[in-house]
Amino acid sequence: MLLIYCPYCEEERSELEFRGAGDAHIARSTNIAAISDEEFEAYFFLRENPKGMIFERWRHIHGCGRFFNAARDTVSDRFVKTYKAGEPKPDLHPAPATAATVETYEALEGDAQ
């Protein structure tokens, strides 16, 4: 279970309070009826599925109820940053911290103190 920092509540809370809401920074076309099938497919069906840094929306549904964005490493599941909706996409390195499967805390953080 993830620990997620809500940028509105300014607090780390359990994943149980949150609902994942998919890719962030997707702009709906302003003339959706006029776009081509390829553009509609890209907008509606194609999602980033990176092994590494992902930018995604979360909703603090059992808390403040607000949507915010997060940058997370999909190999370690570690949140690098959460930020308020409307803020620009942060410039972060896309490669994962490690390519190997992370099964323990120590693998990512070093020896537990």
């Binding site: 993830l2 099938d37 194609l46 999602r47 999909t74």
Partner: protein
């Protein structure tokens, strides 16, 4: 390849089991192959096997990043069934089921296919209407599926609690008697042995790092951690990592990868005669031949390659298992693991050509790819050999998300399957 038989067992028993040979070879990669398959799971190994056996293409390599069958092939709950709603799905899953029925004989390898029946529980009116629709659609299409009353369900699976006061009461069930389970490792090993015997190279610990294309855009091979390997045809069958591989050829696929968990209990004496699935409360359970209860949980709500998954997901499933089968409340769970599943927006698989000439893809089997293994592999081999899909897989195209011809099993089942 020495044939496995009862006589082989007796012969080896007489001489201290010294005569068993390695099941597949581990050769050095050649510079060039007629076809490369990326991903040494059941689907990839099976495709190589059928390429060699049915299409006479033996100059084939299967490249596997880890060890064969170590991904989702070795991480699933081994459920086999073909009672899907849409014709495109029924075609391929029924094709697979028919191959399952003769697979041990075909491979000369005991895959332990056990048609013990898959029973899907209905908990409410919506379930009942939906399952009956499935039953009718399946029977019209020649696939066995039948509706059971709660009492009939209890007779088929005695541990089931059908009390009206149960937390998750049952108002019936759909039963596919030909459904069941098989031994997942044996599927990978059996295909590997059969393919290797026909000249296919199985290359483990070989990670593809790039797909190379010629000036005309056609694939010419792959870069790997063991150097460049040439091929005019590349089939990608990499399950949860398909997006990563396809990005190397600049092809975006409509997949999202997330962890799906399963767990097994301590071994028990034979107590559970079939496979039971409850989509509504999300629990799958069967008992392996070793005696462990094999339990399937759900996917996490976020994209991940972590092969772990959250504790609340398995807790939710175990809660449902304990309510449906009160006798299992004090059973201890022994192991838990996660696999990375590649889900498509309509929850149906993708198998077909890609915009890149010579590059073929088999992916999107999501949470239910094991059951499709022989069928998918058989049809993927046809696709790679002929360059165009087999009739039974013709609907599973990559471009259906552009044309709108979705195969919406997601809406049909309303859950992962």
């Amino acid at each position: 390849m020495r044939k496995y038989s009862v006589f082989a067992v007796v012969r080896e028993a007489m001489r201290g089991h010294k005569g068993w040979e390695a099941q597949w070879a581990s050769p050095e990669p050649r510079k060039e192959y007629d076809a490369i398959i990326v991903g040494g799971g059941g689907h990839g190994l099976g495709a190589a096997y059928y390429l060699a056996k049915e299409h006479g293409i033996t100059n084939v390599a299967v490249l596997e990043k880890g060890w064969i069958g170590g991904g989702n092939t070795g991480r699933n709950t081994t459920i086999i069934r073909s009672n899907y709603l849409y014709e495109e799905s029924m075609d391929i899953y029924e094709h697979a089921l028919k191959l399952w029925e003769g697979l041990s004989q075909d491979l000369n390898y005991n895959v332990m296919y056990s048609p013990r029946g898959v029973m899907m529980l209905s908990h409410n009116i919506h379930d009942q209407q939906s399952f009956k629709r499935h039953v009718h659609a399946n029977r019209l299409y020649g696939i066995d599926n039948e509706w059971l009353t709660p009492e009939q369900a209890k007779a088929y699976c005695p541990p089931l609690d059908i009390a009206k006061t149960a937390r998750y009461p049952i108002n019936g069930a759909a039963l596919q008697r030909r459904g069941g389970t098989a031994r997942h490792d044996a599927v990978a090993w059996g295909y590997a042995r059969g393919a290797s015997d026909r000249g296919v190279h199985i290359i483990q610990n070989c990670e593809v790092t790039a797909i190379r294309r010629g000036p005309d855009g056609v694939v010419i091979g792959v870069d790997t951690n063991r150097g460049f390997i040439g091929a005019k045809k590349i089939g990608v069958s990499a399950a949860g990592h398909t997006s990563v591989i396809m990005n190397m050829a600049d092809v975006r696929v409509p997949l999202q990868s997330s962890p799906l968990q399963a767990l097994v209990s301590e071994p028990l004496k034979p107590i559970f005669p079939c496979v039971v699935m409850s989509n509504t409360v999300h629990a799958y359970i069967s008992q392996s031949d070793k005696g462990e209860l094999v339990i399937g949980a759900g996917t996490d709500q976020y994209n991940s390659y972590s092969q772990t998954g959250g504790i609340q997901i398995i807790e939710h499933t175990l809660d449902a298992i304990c309510e449906l089968f009160p006798m299992f409340r004090r059973v201890k769970m022994m192991r838990q693991w996660g696999g990375i599943v590649d889900n498509t927006p309509d929850r149906s698989a993708i198998q077909g050509v890609t915009p890149v000439p010579g590059l073929f893809v088999n992916c999107g089997w999501g949470t239910g790819g094991f059951k499709a293994t022989p069928g998918s592999a058989h049809l993927f081999a046809h696709l790679i050999a002929r360059g165009e899909p087999h009739r039974l897989a013709a609907g599973l195209t990559l471009d259906r998300f552009r044309t709108g011809r979705l195969i919406d099993e997601a809406a049909a089942a309303a859950v992962a399957h």
